[in-house]
Amino acid sequence: MTRFVTTLMRREFFIFVILPFFVWMAAFWGYLSGQKMIVVDAVSYYEHIGFFTDNIIRGVYPLWDPSWSDGAPYNFFLRRIGEANPFYWLNAGLKMIGIPQVHAYLFFLTFYYFLALTAFWLIARILFRNRLVAGGAFLLLLFSGWGSQLFFNYIIIIFVPFIWFFYFIFAFAREGKKYQFLGCIFTLAVSLSTYIPFFFLTIIALFTGLFFIFFFREMLSFLKRLVVFTIQNKGLAVMCGFFLFIACVPAVDFYHESQQGEFVLPGRHAGDDKTPVVAVAMKSVVVGDLLAQGYFDRTFMDHASLIRGEFFISYFFFLACLITLVTPLTRKIFFLLANIIILGLISLTEASPLYKFLYDHIFFFRIMRMVSYFFWLAVLPMAVILVMEQVRAFIRDYTGHRLLLFFVVPAHLAFGAWALTREGVSWTAWIAVAGSMAFFSVILLGCRNKNLLFGILALAVIVQPFQLAKYVVANGEVRRGEVGRYHADVVKDFGYSREFIPTLKTESKDPLIRSFRDSVYYATRWFTDVFTLVPSEDRLSFTANKLYLIDTAVAYTQADSVFYDRLASAWRNHENIVFLARQEVPDDALRTSSGGALKAEPVGPSHPFVKVVGFDVNTLSLKVQLDRPRFLLWNDNYHSGWHVYINGREDKVLRADYAFKGVWLPAGSHDVLFRFATPWRYAMGYMSMIIFAVFLVMILVAARREGFLTLREDL
């Protein structure tokens, strides 16, 4: 193992992976250094990972986010990132040594991309058993538009476990080692711990199904090996089964939670009357399909205007595809093409009959929104493998076939002439075309010098996308200040007053525009109602202060327009009154304390009788001294997962003012503790994190013992 790693570091891994990766980093340095702004979904994941790791550093397992829409369960975001993934510890570790979140996150992204591409290179090595071709495949993917996805969306979070899973499964099929088996289970578990493992599952299901069709005998032999391995390693198999079960629990818990209807996702669920709330309306899916994204708008034109998220790749890719059309058709090529075509059809949503069928008949297709991600997750990597497989066959079959120069040279000239007719094609495209022509010509002339071939290939594959990446960086937004809305202070300080965030007011009278601008993406059901039905200025004027002491609680039986008007008026005037749902509270909760003032009494940091003595995102601890019973209103959203303890005894948290929460406190001195979720849930979270970390260590230890990769290539 040591010798292998040493050799690898000295030669192959360094030349084929590390060195090109540094070149890639240089191309995207504007983003990687934090000068340019990450955007769209990348910002959300930056916030989620930042929030999670900031809390973990403080020893808090975050299950509630008080800063999201006046308080919302955090499980939805945890399910997005799959918090048990031990690689987030890298982000946390960097922050612990004082590196700011922006740079820690960008470092994490870079490392994660490196990890993904390393797996791709390893897969290519297994499939091709040819360093030149594997290196070429690696370079093609590395220097494609994939890299810019890091700064635009979150798919790298899905891609890493997904691609490592494929590496482990290929390696296991070939060598049957324990660490490879463990790797499969671990990467599967990382994916299952998120709420959208369905990209992963769809690709695997399709791959497996087609593998059965195209490689039946090999599949049987693989299954046989798997059964034998399982029988020989019963303990390990049981442990892996248990691990997978643990990994599924948070996602299952989340689905259960989503059925209860306490949180809603109006932004994505709009127009869909089906449960669960995480379901996505067809019109939302269409927004995320391949056609809607416009990835290919600038592949062959207007290169200087390329932006992050758009597809680009060296023209060598297209030329290689064209030139190698003369190579023999093999099962492997057929198999890859079938995968690409089917996933491509799914990515087209409405324009393809396949997607409509899947949406109607397979439940999880109603949960996946950005189906265009299939392109980056599978179609592009498979297409690169496909083209390089054809290149490999071309080298094998046509080295020294000079006659083919009569096809290769005119084909390149024709492509070049066509590219000339396109507007705004970068000048480096000609290097790619010339490099490609040189590469194939040298092969046809009988050259077998692999170093020369790799040199030409690298030139053809790297130079053009390097320039295109520079354009992407140049067209990116310059970062000014913080990224997104997340600030680390949210997890540290209670903050008696809520930071006033101006609402997106609009002069437009058009209800369509208003609904669009005022839409809620994710919030509790009750908050969404008041957000929509009560004027924002009334709500904000009252909820600007988080805590109030109130003397009168009245009941309402129905949340109708009369009630919302009354609520708005009470908030506007800061009335000394709180509204409780009649059906949810006991009679004695509806009362008035003597000596009540007209206005609700706000609790600030200098309040003489109410002191916040402890706070984290899941808990609020108060010391209270009251001369009479009073209602403590906390303008943070209600959720049935909240518990309150008065002097250590649990009391009922009441849903107050429709969306928020509170509790009646008797006269006298009390310790009041609000806490979200049960201790079991925290234990489960911590346990998952530890188990995942232990599993990763087990893989590394087993890999060290068994030898990481012992394949011998033909080069």
């Binding site: 056609l291 809607a292 994204q293 416009g294 059309l325 023999p328 093409l337 324009a351």
Partner: protein, 307 residues
């Protein structure tokens, strides 16, 4: 034919990757709803290219000058709309406006005329075509477009605008608070003026005088001064100097800034021997003329508009 020589060749062809690519291409063409895909791509590209419409609203409200607006993205957008929907006449009109302000008057006139001639309910196309042809000196054509625009009832204009996707985009702009009917009324007033002026310039003095007096009698028209001028000027053309003087007198009483009104009145007074009064009017005319940039005294009233 020697099959033994051909068959291996055919076999070779059918065992190549290229064949499967071709087959897949055909299969995909059959499977994918190409029209739906195409229309989705078009829609997305249009959405991507659409610039914020706030500047156009500011232009209409007089808060921005045309020179301060970056016309390039608007032009690119309207060109794209027309590439996908060549019959989108509203877009063609807006393209004409962009071309005009980008210093391409020939193209602007051509696009505006095409738009006006193809879609009658779009009042603004005819309006702009009338303005551009008037500015270009083609008075009969300007007259024709003005008549065409005036024939469209305000209710139809309002409906045509509200049903136009491009107008709806403008109306959705955050700074949009324009009273369309008021703008339309003022545009119609400008067209009356253009029509009267065009008739005057082609020396159809009778028609010009009638149109001017009709406008003077119209209660909806706010600024009557230009119409008194053209009525008076037409009377001069017809040889009715006494009536001309009285109409120009009303025009001058309305504090006209039109140097020609002073000059013509001066000419008449001079002809009847009131040299002193004539001289003072000529002096006033000279003073106003120095500040006038256009030979047409009401040029500022005739600018391109879309609202």
């Amino acid at each position: 034919m020697d099959l033994n020589r051909i068959l291996p060749g055919i076999k070779w062809i059918f065992s190549r990757v290229g064949i499967i690519y071709m087959a897949l291409f055909v299969a995909l063409a059959c499977l994918v709803d190409v029209k739906a895909a195409e229309s989705r791509i078009k829609m997305r590209r249009l959405n991507d290219a659409r610039p914020p419409m706030n500047s156009l609203v500011s232009l209409t409200k007089g808060e921005m000058l045309p020179a301060a607006i970056e016309w390039k993205p608007y032009r690119r957008y309207f060109e794209l709309v027309l590439r996908y929907m060549p019959d989108e006449w509203t877009a063609r009109m807006f393209l004409g406006i962009c071309e005009h302000y980008q210093g391409e008057p020939q193209k602007a006139v051509m696009d505006m005329r095409r738009s006006a001639e193809s879609f009658l309910p779009l009042f603004w196309s005819s309006y702009n075509a009338a303005v551009l042809t008037f500015q270009g000196g083609d008075m009969p054509k300007a007259l024709d477009y003005a008549e065409r625009a005036l024939r469209v009832s305000p209710a139809v204009v309002d409906m045509a605008m509200r049903s136009s996707v491009i107008y709806r985009q403008i109306m959705f702009a955050s700074n949009f608070d324009i009273d369309i009917s008021r703008d339309l009324a003022s545009a119609r007033e400008d067209l009356y003026l253009l029509r009267t002026a065009a008739q005057y310039y082609i020396k159809d003095f009778n028609a010009s005088r009638a149109a001017a007096l009709q406008a003077v009698a119209e209660s909806g028209i706010q600024d009557k001064e230009p119409f008194y001028f053209f009525a008076g000027a037409s009377d001069i053309g017809l040889g009715n100097t006494t009536e001309a003087l009285s109409l120009l007198g009303v025009c001058l009483k309305l504090k006209s800034r039109n140097p020609l009104a002073y000059r013509y009145a001066g000419d008449i007074l001079s002809a009847v021997g009131k040299a002193e009064e004539a001289r003072s009017l000529w002096q006033l005319a000279g003073g106003l003329q120095r500040h006038s940039e256009s030979s047409f005294p009401y040029a500022s009233r005739l600018r391109l508009r879309f609202m």
